[in-house]
């Protein structure tokens, strides 16, 4: 290849030919947590062909191209089976590491992340708080050339099988809350780290975990970004997360990219199947709801496409992915409600050999996942109104005083 970067169009043709020859056509994306060995094999295949870490520099195991190339690959591979288990590691953590990690961290960790041999997750929320992320209590104390970490994290997706977590910790209690934070890479299979699954309301397969850190020791060099600047790193990480959730930027295409991948487990198909199975598909009211679910899915895709093009041309600047995330949070719940409505009484009491209604109930039980995980709808509304529209913030009382004072004020109700 010449030293000129490959044009997106030439890359697209090359990708299309390779995809057609090497990937399996499918309508249903792989489940994020299914068959990890197979997903890794698939990731190796992509990496060997130069289609892993498309927008990452070559020296860190990437293909040295751009996000436009990544988007082209995502478009071309829509409808083909691609790995779905690496979106957090490659779409959120890897770009954060690329932006803030030391040279040594990047050289050591990015290449195996690109191949799917090492997986990273985020360790941000805590049992005591998620939305007020800058209020984290997990602490890290420097002891010579190492950190000693104590505390607890919660709601961490994938901690049961990941290798490393990027952990937001407090390294200084005597400065205002945003200024006393640092980000540290913590190995998860490590003395002092305990990972426990959080069982969700549907009692389904493990998706999120809780972690306890008891005198966990990691090298000082595991610091990502500067000491005391953890808030900026966390902000970057959250931005990458919102991009990945919206299927744009570094996360584009890592969710499996099929028609139904935006539909969170194919609820729309579940709705249509239920309407047919339970005889409600001729009911005019139910038909309105079915169409509503379809419209919301289509419009979310159209909005995502418009946003992606607006951001790549520079016409839309700012955290627009938050707007899409808000839309998803609202739509996913609504769709899950439409699901159980469509099944009528059979959606809540069913024959034991009918898996469909059970499935719709489970979708509804977790229908608010997107509205809470990765920043609640309310946090997205703050971001949208303050950082896209420039509306004034609510006055706050905890930003300009030492965090230790904030903690002292947390007294019992009078």
């Amino acid at each position: 290849m010449s030293s000129e970067p490959e044009s997106v169009e030439s890359f697209r043709l090359r990708a299309r030919a390779w995809i057609e020859a090497n990937l399996v056509k499918t309508d249903i994306p792989l489940h994020q947590n299914s068959d990890r060995a197979y997903q890794r094999e698939l990731q190796h295949k992509l990496a060997d062909a130069g289609f892993a870490g498309i927008a990452f520099p070559v020296e860190y195991g990437g293909a040295g191209l751009t996000l436009d190339h990544q988007q082209a690959f995502a478009e071309e591979s829509t409808g083909y089976q691609t790995p779905t288990g690496f979106d957090i590691s490659q779409g959120m953590l890897a770009p954060t590491l690329l932006e803030y990690g030391s040279e040594e961290l990047k050289r050591t960790h990015l290449p195996p992340m690109m191949r799917g041999d090492s997986q990273w997750i985020q360790l941000l929320s805590e049992p005591n708080g998620g939305s007020d992320l800058a209020g984290v209590l997990t602490r890290a104390v420097r002891d010579g050339d190492r950190w000693i970490i104590n505390g607890a994290k919660m709601w961490s997706t994938g901690a049961d099988h990941a290798d490393y977590g990027m952990c937001l910790v407090r390294t200084n209690f005597d400065v205002p809350k945003h200024r006393g934070l640092s980000m540290i890479a913590v190995p998860l299979r490590h003395p002092g780290v305990t990972v426990e699954p959080v069982v969700l309301a549907d009692r389904g397969p493990i998706e999120v975990c809780q972690e306890f850190f008891d005198d966990v020791q990691v090298p000082y060099g595991n610091l990502v970004g500067e000491e005391g600047h953890g808030w900026a790193v966390a902000q970057a990480l959250l931005l990458y997360e919102r991009d990945a959730t919206a299927d744009v930027g570094y996360g584009c295409g890592l969710g499996g990219g099929t028609e139904s991948s935006r539909d969170y487990g194919g609820t729309f198909h579940g709705i249509v199947n239920a309407a047919r199975s339970y005889g409600t598909s001729t009911d005019p009211v139910i038909r309105q709801l079915i169409a509503e679910a379809h419209i919301d899915i289509v419009v979310a895709e159209q909005a995502s496409a418009r946003l992606a093009s607006g951001q790549s041309t520079g016409h839309l600047k700012g955290p627009w992915a938050s707007l899409l995330k808000l839309g998803m949070g609202i739509d996913a719940l609504r769709r899950s409600e439409i699901g159980i409505t469509t099944a009528a009484s059979d959606g809540v009491v069913w024959d034991v050999d009918s898996p469909l209604a059970d499935y719709l109930t489970h979708r509804w039980l977790l229908g608010q996942t997107i509205a809470i995980a990765g920043g609640t709808n309310e946090m997205q509304r703050n971001i949208v109104s303050e950082r896209i529209l420039g509306l004034p913030r609510e006055p706050s009382t905890d930003t300009d005083v030492p965090f230790s004072d904030v903690l002292r004020r947390r007294t019992k109700r009078p």
Partner: protein
């Protein structure tokens, strides 16, 4: 709406906006609301001279697209009309002139008059029983030797009281027939409707065995089904673009108002109770823009999905635009309910567009049919 326009489109956009700002400010719209026709013919001729009626007409008939994407060009005008809640029969004239130009020859003279703004045409399609559903129309066009006889009762006909030509959709032999009926044809009765909008006027058109030469037929007798479908798609797409213009403008001044208005010592826009609602409205607005663009592109690209994407856009924009206006009223408080404030002028247009060419409910049912549910 479109984030990127070609240089020619941007220049055109600027011209349209400037023309409307100088020639059709809100004070003029309010003035016209007391007139019989809601529009001034001389003003319409000026608009036509700026190219408003030539975008959907091929170059050999005196028109021409700016970009090779004719509906996208036309949506630029529709959106600006929405922002200014301007009058003018923009959608019916363009849809009719496009239909005529797809069958060149007998109506070329009318095309020229429409393009230069000397004549106004409208589309007489809906009926009170079938509303917007083409298969259920009951008007008929019967061939009788060298004549065609049109009978029927059309309603919701835009600009009926001023139109010079009516493209009438009727049942023919083996399919739909479209006939271009002049206003003064014998057997035509036109009666004005009342309408929610201040300046956009409608009428009932009664055709009692209107006899015209066969050459009045547009295309082939019984062969207009595809034309009618395309006319519906174009009308809907342009109406969506217009609604986007309205709600974009309303959102703009509502957000400004919320930042300027103080209560309890700070701007009301700083309260989460309000700014969270504003965020939801931005989501609705951006989604309306996205789905409208996609619908317009689908028509320009002759996508096989165009019918479904049009219904998606019509349903979505119709559903979201109305609450966007009521949220704006709520954020304004009492002043938003007054005649003096312009919010109702915008709201009237949104309510009108929501229902014309099929309600959201109508299009949701259509989506189910298209999905095979």
């Amino acid at each position: 709406m479109y984030l990127e326009l070609s240089d020619e489109q941007s220049f055109f956009h600027e011209t349209v906006r400037r023309f409307l700002q100088t020639e059709m400010p809100m004070s003029k719209v309010r003035e016209l609301s007391d007139s019989d026709d809601g529009v001034d013919r001389a003003w319409w001729r000026e608009a036509a001279n700026l190219g408003w009626c030539s975008l959907l007409v091929p170059a050999e008939l005196g028109g021409g697209s700016l970009s090779g994407r004719p509906l996208q060009d036309a949506s630029i005008v529709a959106e600006e009309i929405g922002r200014m809640v301007s009058p003018g029969p923009f959608v019916p004239v363009n849809v009719v002139v496009n239909a005529l130009s797809r069958h060149p020859g007998p109506h070329d003279g009318v095309i020229t008059e429409l393009v230069n703004g000397n004549a106004i045409a409208t589309w007489a399609f809906a009926e009170s029983a079938s509303r917007w559903s083409a298969p259920e129309l009951s008007a008929t066009a019967v061939i009788d030797g060298d004549s065609v006889i049109v009978t029927g009762h059309k309603t919701y006909v835009e600009s009926a009281t001023i139109a010079d030509h009516f493209l009438v959709t009727a049942r023919g032999d083996g399919g739909l027939t479209q006939v271009l009926v002049p206003r003064d044809a014998s057997g035509m009765t036109i009666a004005a409707n009342g309408a929610a909008d201040l300046v956009r006027r409608f009428g009932n058109v009664r055709l009692d065995a209107v006899r015209l030469p066969r050459s009045a037929i547009v295309g082939e007798p019984g062969g207009a089904d595809a034309d009618v479908e395309l006319q519906l798609q174009m009308s809907i797409a342009l109406h969506c673009a217009e609604t986007v213009g309205v709600i974009d403008r309303v959102f703009e001044f509502t957000v400004e108002y919320a930042q300027d208005r103080y209560a309890f010592g700070r701007p009301i826009a700083s309260y989460q109770a309000l700014k969270h609602r504003i965020a939801d409205q931005l989501l609705a607005l951006e989604s309306c823009k996205s789905t409208t663009e996609a619908a317009i592109d689908a028509i320009d690209e002759e996508s096989s999905d165009a019918d479904r994407l049009i219904s998606v856009a019509k349903s979505y924009v119709g559903t979201k635009s109305l609450p966007l206006i009521s949220e704006a009223v709520q954020l304004h408080g009492g002043i938003g309910l007054t005649w003096e404030h312009d919010l109702h002028v915008y709201g009237r247009r949104v309510a009108l567009n929501r229902a014309m060419y099929g309600t959201p409910e109508h299009h949701r049912e259509r989506i189910c049919q298209l999905l095979g549910v």
